[in-house]
């Protein structure tokens, strides 16, 4: 039963307006409304429910039913600031209530201690703006635990010898072990590595009115019809709405944060579904629009007082973009693995999370997982070995033989922060609302490529040790496509080299807060959502504290 939901007037100055309802925004809404504040969440996408989700690959994957649409919201791409950007789809994110947490894989590793202090440990790296976080793993640990218990994560505590300390076990056991997980674990053991049950933000047991995973086999890219995937839509927004203080306002595309003459944010201006413009007033504004749209919104909000964009005195808004790297290797096995059944990942390993750049010859760290995340059509389009027939009898025979016998070993790696790598406003291309399109500038650090290739070799080693009859990898080259959107409004103590302080407050605007992938200082080893959510819980605590002490407005 959905409670009676408040409908705030736009002229009604609510306590907080939150822009975005994804991994961070959903939790921010839950926490702030639970703490007694009046909250409006402005979400550019529609409010879909479980009943709207399905397994139609054309609708979901080709027609962007759940994601940002390349025709309405074009992107442009260039490798360096000297190039002219060309229209090209570069960014995919969830565009609906719940954001990308609706369709993600739900791999839910915590960051380790090293991710927060790596600059101090290994020193500077040429070509990178790598710095330490202003907070440590210990600061975030209680909030990781909160995510696991309040949002719902399955896993086995202390299973990996490389795991960081934790204050509490997981609230529920790991999901079942897939065939890929069994083979991966056996192979790792042979190689002296330590595979362990993957922590996943998917319920292995029914919990708070949500179903356990039914192993339907349509997970990555799809919304969960039974609420087992711990998206903000399933796990956070219902709690926020239940407070009676939170209004989720879908189809509301925010394009400007308004500031008064004192440099104080007064609310968010947005297009409604019919493209009428409204200003939702609020005492404070929290941007959780993701690592692409948050910096874009700050840049779109430039005015006389803030000519380079809001909260951009550092010039770092949109800069230091990190995508995470990685490699994908496929293996074909003698017997049916049937890895299409179930969620994507059941085993991972962190033996190469932390490495000595002196010994290796380059910087980098990562994790490896065994997975299957392809739909039947996706498999037929892209998962046969190189050189296979593409049509005809040979093609059909190979599909019939390989479909049940294939899985992937996926390695996930670091991206170094680089000032030139960024999101900015395209000077020429506009979106369907007439606003400057999102422009991505990106060129991987050479160490990122080297390490991704090195770790991918470990993946191939695993497939060998697992007894794959055939194995191959996708080539690893410079990335031009972004899913993890990190570092673009980074957190720091120094207002000259960061956008927000460790309370997630912008250095320049007292009542403007940012929390999402853009807040990150380093990229972790490839699975950022758990940390985005832990940051959101922590930020909500900090913001609540400031508000109660009357230190915001």
């Amino acid at each position: 039963m959905r409670p009676d939901l408040p409908k705030y007037k736009t002229s009604d100055e609510v306590d907080f307006v939150i822009v975005g309802s994804g991994a961070a925004g959903g939790i921010m809404a839950k926490e702030l409304s639970t703490n007694g504040f009046r909250v409006v969440v402005l979400e550019q996408g529609p409010y879909l429910t479980e009943a709207d989700f399905g397994h139609n690959e054309v609708k979901i994957l080709a027609q962007d039913f759940l994601t940002n649409h390349p025709k309405l919201q074009p992107n442009t791409f260039r490798k360096t600031p000297d190039d002219k950007a060309k229209p090209q789809r570069t960014v995919v994110y969830g565009r609906l209530v719940g954001g990308t947490s609706v369709h993600f894989t739900a791999n839910f590793w915590r960051f380790h201690e090293i991710d927060f202090i790596e600059r101090s440990k290994i020193g500077s790296i040429a070509g990178s703006t790598l710095v330490d976080w202003p907070i440590t793993y210990a600061d975030l640990e209680p909030y990781y635990t909160k995510v696991e218990w309040e949002i719902g994560v399955s896993g086995l505590a202390h299973a990996s010898p490389f795991d960081p300390p934790r204050s509490k076990p997981y609230p529920m056991p790991p999901l079942p072990t897939k065939g890929s997980g069994v083979l991966f674990e056996q192979a790792a053991r042979k190689l002296g590595w330590h595979a362990f049950p993957a922590p996943m933000a998917i319920l292995s047991q029914p919990r708070t009115g949500r179903s356990a995973c039914i192993n339907c086999g349509f997970c990555l890219a799809f919304g969960c019809e039974v609420g087992a995937k711990s998206s903000s839509l399933a796990a956070a927004i219902p709690v926020a709405e239940k407070t009676g203080r939170c209004e989720i306002r879908p189809n509301s595309y925010v394009h400007r944060i308004e500031v008064d003459s004192n440099g104080r944010a007064i609310g968010a201006t947005y297009f409604d579904e019919k493209r009428n413009v409204h200003l939702q007033k609020a005492k404070a504004v929290v941007l959780c629009a993701n690592g692409a749209e948050t910096p874009r919104l700050l840049l779109l909000s430039a005015n006389k007082q803030f000519p380079n964009g809001l909260a951009n005195s550092s010039g770092y808004v949109g800069k230091n973009l990190m995508l995470n790297g990685g490699g994908i290797s496929f293996g074909v096995f003698e017997h049916p693995v049937n890895d299409y059944k179930g969620f994507a990942v059941s085993r991972i390993l962190h033996d190469f999370y932390e490495n000595d750049p002196q010994k290796l010859g380059f910087y980098g760290g990562g994790g490896i997982d065994a997975r299957y995340d392809l739909t039947p059509i996706g498999f037929a389009m892209g998962a046969l070995p190189p050189g296979s027939p593409r049509w005809g009898k040979g093609y059909k025979d190979l599909l019939a033989h390989n479909f049940q016998r294939t899985f992937e070993v996926f390695s996930h790696t670091t991206s170094l922060p680089i000032e030139n790598n960024s999101f900015s406003l395209d000077p020429d291309v506009t979106d369907a609302w007439g606003l400057p399109a999102l422009r991505m500038t990106y060129k991987d650090h050479p160490d990122d490529i080297k390490f991704a290739r090195w770790l991918n070799e470990r993946g191939l080693q695993l497939l060998d040790a697992a007894g794959a009859q055939r194995k191959w990898s996708f080539p690893i080259d410079e990335q031009v496509f972004a899913v993890h959107l990190l570092g673009t409004c980074r957190m720091g103590n120094d207002p000259k080299t960061s956008v927000i302080n460790k309370d997630h407050r912008t250095h320049d605007v007292k009542n403007l807060f940012l929390c999402d992938g853009s807040s990150m200082v380093t990229s972790g080893r490839g699975q950022p959502t758990m940390t985005i959510e832990a940051l959101a819980f922590r930020a909500a605590d900090r913001i609540t504290d400031l508000a109660r002490r009357n230190e915001i407005a």
Binding site: E50, N56, P161, G179, Y340, K396, A400, F403
Partner: protein, 252 residues
């Protein structure tokens, strides 16, 4: 996969689609359950796992029109076509039947792929009509060029048909295709190939071939709910055990 670009999907909600006796048997208890104010989620939480197919059929009824059209058209004496003429449909059927042939197991023809594409081109893939408008005359031209005595593609032998199609597929190894690259050939071929694969493999419960022909060929079970063990390798798995040396290893 960027194949269809339109946002709006015209597939109407259709509850009347026949799903076979097995599903219908279970529909009654499910409906009763729903009436008792148990939500679908609670229903699932209680572990009624064997009813998955039913639950899926009752609750994912959307987007079945193309498949239904494909089935009805295939079964009716005078197939209903929205975009292709009957003659064009014969050609498309012949082409898709070389992309996924029927050879011991059913292929594109048995899955009614041509009818799915026909429906798609008048609904959610209107923008791709152009590939067919330009491609079909090109198929006729190449047929004539390669085999002057053959009237049309669908009258050629399978071997001849493969040779004609290979002339479009410039990604084929050179020795296996007639050397006649021509602008747009690959484009048409890729469109045909993609559409054939999609029509063959789209979830039979979400708008794909309702007989699940393609999934049977893959060995993909029709259900949308599974229980471990899933396959050969996990059937006797004893459960996770720590590696005996479970201490922190020195880093590489």
């Amino acid at each position: 996969m960027r194949l269809f670009h339109r946002l709006d999907s015209p597939f109407p909600l259709d509850l009347s689609f026949p799903r076979g006796l097995q599903s219908l048997q279970f529909l009654v208890p499910l409906r009763t359950t729903m009436k008792n104010n148990l939500s679908r989620r609670n229903f699932l939480s209680q572990g009624c796992s064997s009813l998955s197919a039913v639950w899926v059929s009752a609750h994912f009824p959307a987007m079945l029109s193309a498949a239904r059209h494909a089935r009805e058209s295939a079964q009716s004496a005078t197939p209903k076509l929205g975009f292709f003429t009957p003659e064009q449909a014969d050609e498309i059927d012949a082409i898709t039947s070389r992309i996924i042939p029927s050879d011991g197991t059913p292929g594109a023809h048995e899955a009614g792929v041509v009818y799915f594409i026909d429906q798609a081109l008048t609904t959610f893939a209107v923008e791709e009509q152009v590939h067919y408008r330009e491609g079909l005359p090109e198929v006729a031209a190449r047929t004539k060029e390669l085999f002057p005595s053959i009237e049309k593609f669908s009258s050629a032998t399978p071997e001849q048909q493969d040779e004609i199609l290979a002339s479009f597929d410039e990604k084929m190894p050179a020795q296996r295709r007639p050397n006649r690259p021509r602008a747009g050939g690959q484009n048409f071929f890729e469109t045909m190939r993609s559409h054939t694969i999609i029509a063959f493999l789209l979830d039979p419960d979400s708008g794909g071939d309702p007989n699940g022909t393609g999934w049977k060929v893959l060995g993909r079970e029709r259900s949308h709910m599974f229980q471990p063990p899933f396959g050969y390798y996990d059937q006797n798995y004893a459960g996770w055990q720590p590696v005996p040396d479970g201490t922190r290893k020195s880093k590489s």
